[in-house]
């Protein structure tokens, strides 16, 4: 991409030292009564137990939830107070839709790189089972007017504005506020635009299930996942899935839209509950705590697309952010050993790859001489991703970063070479957002 860039200033490195998450449950499953705070606390406590951080004053903890109760205005701090960490550990909440988890990793890493922090815990949590229910706007306004009313007349007037239908509660949905299309419908449009077949989507889904199941079976997640509420593996994982079973599922998204429907419940992520955390630190802090750096965050790039006016698909921002990110770092897709693309839908991964392989997209939308490049599928989501694990929105970034950091470290250690081992992490998000990052094995 021909644009002037300044090289990343010389700063010290921030390392991923480990992670912990609880297994992801399906909505209405074993975490149905668990709140965001419960789950985040459990994920933090598991991290504390794994790394012996009891009573430790961590530099800062940042986490967030996409679906958040107003009472949870200080969710992360409350979770810290309920955890085995020192009560003197500061915390703050972050919200960037599905990119929340990755953004906490990026922003805390940057604080560590600048020397502002020595240690940090990044995280995210979401419950679609315990989603906040609000009163309607009209009822809310009437109640607020009522609370401000001074005379009986004003009070009566406020109450008189309430209509029976205003009393119906308002549940959150995955609809985009500006288009009122659900995320699935948006992706269905993009899927049709790029002519992605159901068979191709089912293959992505199957690989996700098979790879996640294999990782569990090999004990890969023994030091990444701590059971919660009796759940020991991600509830959505179907180790026995097959293309035949997936092919039988009826399209679930895009119905009513004037585009071919190919997206099924099998190749889309289910509504999920869960939490994840990532332990970050400087080299000095890691050494002082006998912790092994797994990977460092090299750089990150956020992107956004104008899906409102149909310029690009809602979930296509990473298709733009990644080329910018790699260009700034003088890298190409071939320089990456692992590519983690969050599977919001199987089609999200495939449309991103298709865009990168398209000559026209490369020229007209990315400003390149031709196609951006091809992703070697063997490098893609090597231990499965959201289709199999589930996707508690804000928890996904932490899941990916912890998983791939462990894998990076393992690969580097096994190689016995000094050659860098790199991973790309890409997470699409509501609002046409995307956040991408490069991690390098330590």
């Amino acid at each position: 991409m021909a644009r002037p860039t300044t090289p990343t200033p010389e700063v010290r490195r921030a390392y991923v030292l480990g992670g912990n998450r609880i297994p992801f449950a399906r909505a209405g499953g074993p975490y149905v009564r668990a709140s965001n705070q419960d789950m985040l606390t459990a994920a933090i406590d598991g991290l504390v137990a794994r790394y012996g951080l009891q009573g430790e004053r961590i530099g800062e903890v940042a986490a967030g939830a996409v679906l958040k109760h107003s009472k949870d205005f200080n969710l992360t701090r409350e979770a810290v107070l309920g955890s085995a960490l020192s009560a003197e550990t500061p915390a703050y909440d972050v919200q960037q839709a599905c990119a929340t988890g990755l953004e906490t990793v990026v922003s805390l890493s940057n604080k560590i790189r600048l020397g502002q922090l020595e240690s940090a815990i990044a995280g995210g949590v979401d419950s679609t089972s315990d989603a906040p229910i609000a009163v309607s706007n009209r009822l809310r306004r009437a109640l607020l007017d009522l609370s401000r009313a001074k005379t009986v007349g004003q009070k009566l007037a406020a109450v008189a504005k309430i209509r029976p239908k205003d009393l119906a509660p308002v549940a959150p949905n995955t609809g985009e506020p500006r288009t009122h299309l659900s995320m699935g419908e948006h992706q269905a449009l993009t899927t049709a635009q790029w002519e992605i077949t159901q068979a191709a989507q089912d293959e992505v889904a199957l690989a996700s299930h098979q790879r996640l199941a294999a990782a569990y079976d090999s004990g890969f997640f023994d030091d990444l996942v701590t059971p919660f509420r009796g759940l020991t593996r991600d509830a959505n994982l179907r180790a026995d899935s097959s293309l035949e079973k997936l092919a039988k599922l009826k399209p679930a998204f895009g119905l009513g839209l004037d585009t071919p429907a190919t997206m099924t419940a099998g190749n889309s992520t289910p509504l999920s509950d869960g939490a994840s955390t990532v332990l970050l630190g400087s080299a000095e802090w890691a050494a002082a705590h006998d912790l092994v750096p797994l990977a460092s965050l090299v750089d990150a790039e956020a992107g956004a697309v104008d899906f409102v006016h149909g310029d690009d698909g809602l979930l296509m921002a990473p298709a733009f952010a990644v080329p910018r990110l790699l260009a700034r770092n003088g890298l190409t897709l071939d320089d990456l050993d692992y590519i983690e693309i969050h599977e919001a839908f199987a089609a999200t991964v495939l449309t991103t790859l298709a865009a990168w392989e398209s000559e026209e997209f490369g020229r007209t939308r990315l400003g390149l001489d031709g196609a951006f490049g091809t992703v070697d599928r063997a490098k893609l989501n090597v231990h499965g991703s959201s289709l199999a694990a589930g996707h508690p929105f804000a928890a996904t970034g932490g899941r990916i970063v912890a998983t791939i950091s462990k894998e990076l470290h393992r690969r580097k250690a096994a190689s016995g070479s000094d050659a860098p081992v790199r991973a790309l992490v890409s997470v699409c998000a509501a609002g046409g957002l995307g956040l991408t990052a490069i991690l390098e094995a330590a």
Binding site: R163, T179, L189, D258, F307, G310
Partner: protein, 287 residues
């Protein structure tokens, strides 16, 4: 020689409608004039209220700017044109008039703090394949220069003045970019901010009385939603035109496309099931 009628303030639409309805009844009995009155209606120093503006912006999904959305200026100014339409020498009956198109030219932003001078005229009475059309032109000036100009085209079905007009173009639904889910009360809510309490918008019962199966959405509500969906890309000066094809029955769902084009933005709203359009239009930035 044009007659200028200066009104002390913008009249309330409710009273105008009542008067218009009476005249319409009368006009059924005897045939009316066949030319437009050579008259302009003027109101000076109109000011918007911030609460009213906020209500409007929230309902339409406009950003909370102190610049008045073009649709909001229409809401402020159009009753002046309506006053003209309910004159006894206006050739078409108000009841049964159908708003078929609207074109607004926004020359520069109109601000909440501006004092607006509104001038309304009627022009171009002409034949159409299913009746007679007329343009109501409303100009809004600030400090003596026109900042906003709206042309609202109305059709009186069955009122024949000769001529046939164009055949409508066939509509092919494009790839949608969004959807409007319109609740049953959206007509009443837009009526509350626009003052347009035409019974066809208010309830199924009142709409039935006037020959509609259910209440229908205000055309300007849908056009203004589309303008809001275009967003900041429209710039400070633009032309916003819309044709209303088929009314939106309430409650109802309109599938929409609001997308960039070579000149600016085009938009369309249609019924995904039947493929029939409700409205089409464009927003074209000027200069």
């Amino acid at each position: 020689m044009t007659t200028t009628v200066v009104l002390p303030k913008v009249p309330a639409l409710g009273g105008l409608f009542a008067r218009g309805a009476g005249l319409s009844l009368a006009r059924r009995v005897r045939s009316g004039p066949t030319v437009l009155p050579d008259v302009e209606y003027v109101v000076r120093g109109v000011r918007a209220s911030s609460d009213h503006l906020t209500e409007y912006q929230h309902l339409l999904g406009e950003s909370a700017s102190d610049a008045l959305p073009a649709g909001f200026v229409h809401v402020l100014a159009f009753p002046v044109a309506t006053a003209l339409m309910v004159r006894s020498d206006f050739p078409l009956p108000l009841v049964g008039l159908v708003h078929v198109a609207n074109r607004v030219t926004q020359h520069r932003p109109v601000l909440l703090t501006d004092a607006l001078d509104v001038r309304a005229t009627a022009t171009d009475l002409r034949g159409h394949r299913s009746g007679t059309q007329v343009d109501l032109v409303t100009e809004v000036s600030v400090d003596g220069s026109v900042a906003w100009r709206g042309v609202s085209t109305y059709l009186a079905r069955g009122v024949r003045l000769g001529g046939s007009g164009d055949e409508p173009a066939t509509f092919v639904p494009p790839t949608p970019t969004g959807r409007w889910k319109l609740d049953g009360d959206i007509g009443r809510r837009y009526a509350a901010v626009s003052g347009d309490r035409n019974p066809i918008h208010l309830s199924a019962l009142s709409a039935k009385a006037l020959g509609f199966p259910r209440a229908i959405a205000h055309g300007m509500y849908t056009a203004s939603r589309a303008l809001a969906d275009v967003g900041a890309g429209r710039g400070d000066a633009f032309e916003w035109s819309v044709e209303f094809v088929k009314p939106v029955l309430l409650p109802g769902t309109v599938t929409v496309r609001v997308a960039g084009s070579s000149e600016g933005f085009t938009f369309a709203g249609w019924d995904a099931r039947s493929g029939k359009p409700h409205l089409t239009g464009s927003v074209t930035p000027l200069r």
